[in-house]
């Protein structure tokens, strides 16, 4: 076992462990913070695989933006901070069974599919340059269409949340 493999396995254990903590902790804010650790470990795994650009994007977007957004969401909706016993749903054992079965299925498929196949790591395979030329050349059309998708999502968010016409505040749609 090389050093790389050991680091990779350790980071994987951290990612899975903190992922389990996210769904088992009884404090909402703690769950968000455990998520930071899980995403960070994932970024470390990308780094080990020499995809440094992807790793930093992971840190910037998932750790930096999404988790902060989650924390803001918790803060602004005035959710109770501290232990919340009602975070556990009555369906949790069924959900756990489904999750374990799904994980087992996915792991089986990947193990059966790849088995002991080895891919040599090449430096620069996941660099900004390689990714940039892929995104802006081969994948330029889907990339640009994704910006259209974001625009339509923005317009939709405004449609569903803008209340300044009637003046009434409405929060938590559908309740």
């Amino acid at each position: 076992m090389t050093g790389q493999e050991i680091v990779f396995a350790l980071l994987g254990a951290v990612a899975v462990g903190s992922g389990i903590m996210v769904v088992t902790t009884r404090q909402l804010v703690h769950a968000a913070l455990w998520l930071v650790l899980s995403f960070g470990a994932l970024a470390g795994m990308y780094l080990v695989l020499t995809a440094e650009f992807v790793a930093w994007v992971q840190v910037l977007i998932y750790v930096g933006a999404i988790v902060v957004l989650l924390l803001f969401g918790i803060m602004l909706t005035r959710a109770p901070i501290g232990t919340a016993p009602d975070l556990d749903s009555g369906n949790r054992w069924i959900a756990a069974a489904v999750a374990v079965a799904t994980a087992a299925l996915l792991v089986t498929v990947v193990v059966m599919g790849f088995g002991d196949a080895k891919m040599p790591l090449e430096a620069g395979g996941g660099s900004a340059e390689a990714l940039g030329s892929a995104v802006f050349r081969t994948w330029v059309l889907p990339f640009e269409v994704l910006s259209v998708l974001l625009l339509s999502a923005l317009v939709g968010a405004i449609v569903l949340s803008r209340t300044d016409i009637g003046g009434a505040r409405s929060r938590g749609k559908g309740d």
Partner: protein, 522 residues
């Protein structure tokens, strides 16, 4: 959209500018461009003028895209990949895109109809709240519907044209996201509409995740997401069978969900019922055409050498889709839910054309899609005209005696139902005959037997609606029929297409046959 990227990178040198065939993908660019222009209209045009600007803009975009598609179809060199291999421009794609654009134009007639008022004045207002009453009374309309519609149509054009799975996924999302939103904007029965939107969103995200995982497995198998590369790798019979079969299954799951094939049909009745009826018309026609286009491309290009692997599963799906759609439709009492189950049964009939995997299968499926699309838009247009005090009269019992009250509209609806049932001299018969013939030629005769049996079951509930309309006494406080010019135009277009494709189908059959001669590009 793409030009500024190439312009910004070209002088730098290291990355060569991508080559985009603007002429060949212009219908897509035009529709998405109009959508972006519509967003700008929302931002800069005053509220009183927005509707008057948005409607012609959307009409021009769709009509321009349709005209451009026809021009592309008339030239003979349309069998190429465009935009760095992301999109395939070929006969079937142009036929599908033209069908989607013309059906979207007819749906736009319904959506733009102010008289029926299908959309919420303010979607953000809580149902039943004071704000909702105030905005409704003020006559405000949510004109964001038009750019969202154009975004969705743009996605529908990309979805069947995409030559690799990544572009296909992006097209799927661009198509679906605006539709999730539009589903929640019904003016009446707001809670039902919001429930439909949330259901559609959650289940749609689930199926997208499956689709994405299927792409990942196929990438693991072939080392590429291009459909042609996957076909080449599968033809070489190398690599891991597990990844390939898992990938096919998950990809098919995502596609079958969009078609509403059993057992992935649960969303369809709820969403069709809850969504504003013009949007239901759009989903029942354009989304189905687009999803079938993508299905055909994936199974005819990427999995063409694997027919033995996926055919048995598709047989099963097709059989249970036809039977379940027809049988469950009998128990429905809501007209929109009934049409949703009818749409599920028709997805089953269409799948027999996919299973044929022949040139005839392709051309007959293309014809069926066009024929069914027009009929279904017309049928939902009729549904918008039969109105109670509280909006559309959805319950079947309210339609009792409509034939005596308004013989014309009841007669037209009866004709659409007969077309769904596949009675000769309607487009439904020609379409069904074509796909079943292709299936028989491809040795799928048992499938055709099941198809004919479930057509007979389906005819039962279509005829039942006709009996309710013509042979029962009208209620004293029955619904009134309100037909505004735009809706009338949509009904007439749907009716004309249903009659013409039933009586004189040969030109369109030839067109579909010509489109299918070279099959899909890769």
């Amino acid at each position: 959209m793409t030009s500024h990227v190439s312009a910004a990178l070209a002088p730098g040198g290291d990355i060569p500018a991508p080559h985009i065939e603007y002429g060949q993908i212009m219908p897509i660019l035009l529709v998405l461009g109009v959508a972006v222009a519509g967003v700008l209209v929302e931002a800069f045009v005053g509220r009183t003028w927005r509707y008057t600007v948005q409607v012609p803009l959307a009409f021009l975009g769709l009509a321009g895209g349709f005209a451009w598609t026809i021009v592309l179809g008339l030239r003979d060199e349309t069998h190429a990949v465009a935009a760095e291999g992301a999109l395939g421009v070929d006969g079937p794609t142009l036929f599908l895109q033209g069908t989607i654009l013309i059906l979207a134009l007819v749906s736009l007639l319904l959506i733009a109809d102010r008289g029926t008022g299908s959309f919420a004045a303010q979607a953000a207002a809580l149902p039943g709240s004071e704000a909702e009453q105030r905005t409704t009374a003020a006559g405000i309309i949510q004109t964001e519907v038009f750019p969202l519609l154009m975004f969705a149509v743009g996605g529908m054009l990309i979805f069947p044209a995409s030559n690799d799975l990544l572009t296909m996924f992006v097209g799927l999302e661009v198509m679906s996201l605006p539709l999730y939103l539009l589903c929640g904007l019904a003016r009446r029965r707001r809670l039902l509409s919001q429930e439909a939107a949330v259901k559609y969103f959650l289940l749609g995200s689930f199926s997208s995740a499956f689709f994405l995982y299927g792409i990942a497995l196929l990438y693991g198998y072939a080392g590429s997401v291009k459909l042609g590369d996957i076909a080449a790798e599968a033809g070489r019979d190398a690599g891991s069978e597990t990844l390939l079969l898992g990938g096919i299954a998950l990809l098919a799951l995502g596609l079958l969900f969009k078609l509403g094939a059993v057992p992935f049909h649960m969303w369809k009745p709820d969403v069709y019922q809850g969504a504003p009826t013009p949007i239901t018309a759009l989903m029942a026609s354009c989304t189905l055409v687009s999803a079938f286009g993508a299905m055909l491309r994936v199974f005819f290009v990427a999995f063409e050498n694997l027919t033995w692997e996926w055919r048995p599963a598709m047989w099963g799906v097709s059989i249970i889709t036809m039977i379940a759609g027809a049988v469950i439709a009998i128990t429905q009492t809501d007209i929109k839910r009934m049409l949703a189950y009818s749409s599920i049964a028709h997805a089953g009939f269409l799948l027999t054309g996919v299973i044929a995997t022949s040139r005839e299968g392709l051309s007959s499926t293309l014809f069926y899609l066009a024929a069914y699309g027009f009929t279904t838009v017309g049928a939902f247009a009729v549904v918008t005209t039969v109105r109670d005090a509280g909006g559309e009269a959805g319950h079947l019992s309210r339609w009792a005696g409509l034939g005596k009250r308004s013989p014309l509209i009841a007669g037209v609806f009866a004709f659409f139902l007969l077309a769904f049932a596949g009675i000769p001299l309607t487009s439904g018969f020609t379409g069904k005959f074509a796909v079943f013939k292709a299936a028989v030629e491809a040795d799928a005769t048992p499938l055709v037997v099941v198809g004919v049996i479930s057509s007979a079951i389906a005819a039962f509930f279509y005829v039942r609606v006709i009996v309710v309309m013509f042979f029962s006494e009208p209620e004293a406080d029955g619904p009134t029929v309100v037909v505004s010019p735009a809706t009338a135009a949509a009904v007439v277009l749907g009716l004309a297409a249903t009659v013409v494709l039933g009586v004189l189908p040969q030109p369109v059959l030839d067109l579909a046959g010509h489109a299918a001669t070279q099959m899909f590009v890769r």
